[in-house]
């Protein structure tokens, strides 16, 4: 951003992804979650019998688990869950050529800048609209090297053995109430396989859009990074602003094999009427490395704790988390690292900003099992509070069963320093500009890890959110 440009000049004074398209769908289930709905989804997808059984079993588990009593306020969620559509099919089949995507959906994604981004920086793009992936493409050079980047449904259809070997192994249905829900009604998401030794130079991206009012999106992504491979996957999410609440509950499973490196970036910018309850977990094998980069800007309530299970000797896990909670928002986010093998290392860095009546909570677990000798873990949390109505919490859990381990946790909470503000204003900046600069400096360690386009976008979003925050 050029120097001395004010926030108004940027013209970003509202949630710019809040537009609504006409609702068009070829099929949708009745509102609410029943066995009938689960059977319909499975039938729509022409799934093998084992998957239907998997779904029905997960539905039983979902019904038997109580609603969590910790984290965010879920008191009105039961009403929302009875009300929403669990499956909305926007078109008949998924396209691989952008020109074949129906006009209305194409326009939506064009407004979000997706095809443009694909041309420039991405190895592959997937786009999900309502419950189904509407578009998936991968650059030919990567296809030739054996990379698979497909919708999860095509993964099940075209690579049944690989799919079945890994599906549900990283995040079992029993894991929590919402992983059970997702396992029952999952639809859409990506299936990714990076073959041995293949290094993807540019990221893969999936884009998620919810347009239908009162809709639940349940994407399921399964990623396998084979030995020595290297890749980066980005997901972005937006939705229109409705007066009713919507619901998004994804499950992301990642297996990072020996010596592989994988990075998963989320830029979550749902509209402020969205419940976003996501389970993301990676199984990290010998000398492999997994990085989660988790940016939470939108949604009404987000509960999301990307996890690294370090199961191979020398495995490394990293979680960078940034949350920005504006008026009425609550981000209950953080990360989990589980050290289950010797010489495993991990780091969690969390930065949160709360503004207005926003609340951001860090909730994290660092667990070292006995036998995970020489494990090292470090957790750092910083929270910035903008207004006197803002709130921040830190709930770290540290469980250590092994003597030869070094684990540390540090957290600080501060207000935007009056001295910093004063200094910047004495150099000719307005209070708003100074505030935006300080906030950008605060998130910089995370923003610099993002691909350039996203870093710019994140900064613009911060500017947009900062507007009117002073005084």
């Amino acid at each position: 951003m050029p120097e001395n440009e004010t926030l108004q000049d940027l013209g970003l004074d509202e949630y710019k992804y809040g537009f609504v398209d006409e609702e068009k769908h070829v099929f949708r289930t009745q509102p609410g979650l029943t066995e009938e709905v689960v059977r319909q989804i499975s039938a729509q997808k022409e799934e093998p019998e084992w998957m239907l059984e998997f779904r029905l079993k997960a539905l039983d588990i979902y019904n038997s688990k109580p609603m969590p009593t910790w984290g965010g306020d879920l008191s009105s969620l039961n009403r929302v869950l009875d009300d929403i559509y669990y499956y909305v099919r926007p078109q008949d089949k998924m396209e691989h050529d952008w020109d074949d995507v129906p006009e209305n959906i194409k326009t939506t994604f064009e407004r979000l800048g997706i095809p443009e981004a694909e041309q420039k920086i991405l190895a592959g793009v997937g786009a999900q609209y309502e419950s189904e992936m509407v578009y998936h493409s991968l650059k030919q050079e990567w296809e030739e090297k054996g990379v698979i980047f497909d919708s999860i449904e095509e993964g099940l259809k075209n690579h049944p053995e690989l799919f079945r070997q890994y599906f549900g192994t990283v995040v079992p249905s029993e894991d929590n109430k919402f992983s059970a829900m997702n396992s029952a009604v999952w639809s859409g998401g990506s299936f990714v396989y990076i073959p041995k030794g293949v290094e993807l130079e540019t990221p893969l991206q999936a884009y998620f859009r919810v347009n239908q009012e009162r809709m639940g999106q349940f994407e399921r992504t399964l990623i396998i990074a084979d030995e020595g491979s290297h890749a980066h996957y980005i997901e972005g999410c937006t939705a229109p602003v409705y007066s009713t609440e919507s619901f998004h509950s994804g499950v992301i499973e990642i297996v990072v094999h020996q010596n592989a490196r994988f990075r998963y970036t989320t830029i979550q910018n749902w509209s402020n009427n969205m419940y976003n309850l996501v389970t993301q977990r990676a199984m990290v094998h010998e000398n492999a490395s997994m990085e989660w980069l988790d940016g939470n800007l939108g949604s009404k309530l987000t509960m999301k704790y990307p996890s690294c299970f370090l199961v191979g000797e020398g495995a490394h896990g990293e979680i960078l988390s940034i949350a920005y909670a504006g008026n009425g928002q609550h981000h209950d986010t953080g990360g989990k690292v589980v050290h289950a093998a010797p010489r495993t290392t991990s780091s969690i860095v969390s930065k949160s900003i709360s503004r207005g009546t926003g609340r951001s909570s860090y909730r994290g677990l660092c667990k070292v099992y006995e036998g995970a000798k020489h494990a090292k873990s470090n957790v750092e949390c910083d929270a910035l509070l903008i207004n006197d109505t803002s709130r921040t919490d830190t709930y770290p859990y540290i469980e250590i069963d092994e003597r030869d381990a070094n684990v540390g946790h540090e957290a600080t909470v501060s207000k935007v320093g009056e001295e910093q503000l004063f200094y910047l204003m004495s150099r000719g900046m307005s209070e708003e500009e100074a505030m935006a600069l300080i906030v950008r400096g605060f998130i910089e360690p995370i923003a610099k890890e993002l691909p350039l386009e996203y870093a710019v976008e994140l900064n613009r979003l911060i500017d947009l959110e900062m507007e009117g925050s002073v005084g």
């Binding site: 006197d388 003597r403 070094n406 540390g408 946790h409 600080t412 909470v413 207000k415």
Partner: protein
């Protein structure tokens, strides 16, 4: 389906601990106290027994750690008010406490000796047992005992203690009176398989100053003994209060202590909890910073061996603006011992300009030791400075190597490193006698390692 707790059988009612026992025990007591105990018992019956499903009891499973059914009511232990006639362990502990402004000695939940410097008595300082205070200072008890500070509604154990307390310490310091030397309390447990309930109440009027060192100890106990303490400390405007708890119970003890401190305007209210003994030790400490300028330093020290289980549950409530608190809990864990630290800083919406810190550091000395640490923050005001940190690690190999290169044996070097690690806590509490005593206790434990 969650069960309706009101229709369930009350939990924790036993042949020893029941409504009839409360009524029988409070029979000869004045009406107001009878009512208090009876009300506390009602609260106890209504409160479910904490389970590991509760966040605050997540790592301490009472089902496994405490057998309430096995506890009997203690006999009255006759103990002449004579130093030489006391049990050896008690005498040794008292021997080290000679330098004091006053002493309280107790055995099995009953106080048998109290002394206080003559001029302090004349200045209006009250040091007595809570049992005697029922007759001598009923107004103080009526106002402060288990009322606003630690009412039975605070929890299951708080309600149980308020129903059954047999004795304890009342310390009242009038406005502006300052005690140069601490008050030393030494309490001994000799009976095994019983439940003991004691209360400590400290009221420091504006501008006063006082230190209370409360030590409880025993030999190893054959069968499980519940030792329950409830501690209420009030520091009024500008008062300076130090409360030190030194727990050196033997194996077999289940120690449970609920402590709450209220710090009013410009007061200083510091605490130190030293947990060395007992098979299971659970300390709940809540510091309330209620007036602008109030400050609390909260220190803690624990050393576990064998299969000892320590659980420290602390909270710092910054209710008023311009308050500060600083918590430092450090512990070393050997053999199969285990420690849980759960701390929370809560900055209330009016707690602007709060300065709050919280640090928990653990040293694991054995392969089978375990430490869990949960340092939490909940901040609802924006103009604050809060930070917390927690670490778990092993003995620093470099320090040990350095010391060994200077000619120390491995054991000597390790002991020295552990002493240095724990010493940081003691160095922040310049209280004569206490530092020495705690140092000796740690060294004794280290020698057994």
């Amino acid at each position: 389906m969650p069960m309706d707790t009101t229709t369930m059988d009350p939990e924790g009612v036993t042949e020893t601990l029941n409504r009839e026992k409360v009524q029988a025990y409070s029979g000869p007591e004045p009406e107001w106290l009878k009512e208090r105990r009876s009300h506390a018992w009602e609260v106890y019956e209504k409160t479910p027994m904490p389970t590991t499903r509760l966040e605050e009891w997540r790592y301490t499973d009472l089902k496994k750690k405490l057998d309430l059914d096995g506890l009997a009511w203690p006999e009255v232990t006759e103990c002449a008010d004579d130093f030489d006639a006391c049990p050896d362990g008690l005498r040794d502990a008292m021997e080290a406490d000679r330098a004091a402004a006053g002493h309280v000695w107790g055995i099995d939940g009953l106080v048998f000796h109290i002394d206080l410097e003559e001029d302090l008595q004349q200045k209006g300082v009250v040091l007595t047992s809570t049992r005697r205070a029922v007759d001598s200072h009923p107004d103080l008890l009526k106002q402060y005992l288990a009322t606003e500070t630690l009412p039975p509604e605070s929890g299951k154990f708080e309600a149980l203690n308020a129903s059954f307390w047999t004795d304890g310490i009342l310390l009242y310091v009038p406005s502006g009176v300052r005690l140069d030397l601490p008050i030393r309390v030494t309490r001994w447990v000799s009976q095994t398989g019983v439940a003991l309930f004691s209360r400590t109440l400290v009221i420091a009027e504006p501008g006063s100053q006082v230190s209370l060192v409360d030590e409880i100890l025993s030999d190893d106990l054959e069968s499980q003994t519940l030792v329950s303490d409830a501690v209420e400390v009030v520091a009024k405007d500008g008062a300076q209060v130090q409360y030190v708890s030194l727990q050196r119970l033997g194996h077999g003890a289940f120690y449970q202590s609920s402590q709450r401190t209220l710090a009013q305007r410009d007061s200083t209210l510091d605490t130190l909890n030293v947990s060395m003994g007992a098979s299971t030790s659970r300390v709940d400490l809540n510091a309330q910073l209620l007036g602008p300028g109030a400050n609390s330093d909260m220190l803690g020290l624990y050393f576990g061996d064998d299969t000892q289980h320590f659980d420290h549950n602390t909270s710092q409530d910054h209710v008023a603006p311009n308050t500060s608190s600083d918590l430092l809990y450090k512990g070393a864990l050997d053999n199969e011992s285990r420690s849980v630290f759960r701390g929370i800083i809560r900055v209330h919406p009016k707690g602007q300009k709060t300065d709050a810190y919280q640090t928990n550091r653990n040293l694991l000395l054995s392969d089978n030791a375990r430490a869990d640490s949960l340092p939490n923050l909940e901040i609802q005001a924006d103009d604050v400075r809060c930070s917390h940190g927690a670490t778990v690690g092993q003995l620093d190999a470099e320090s040990r190597f350095y010391l060994m290169s200077r000619g120390l044996t491995r054991e000597q070097a390790e002991r020295l490193v552990v002493m240095g690690f724990l010493g940081e806590v003691l160095s922040r509490l310049p209280l004569g006698g206490v530092v020495e005593k705690v140092t000796n206790v740690i060294e004794e434990k280290l020698r057994q390692v």
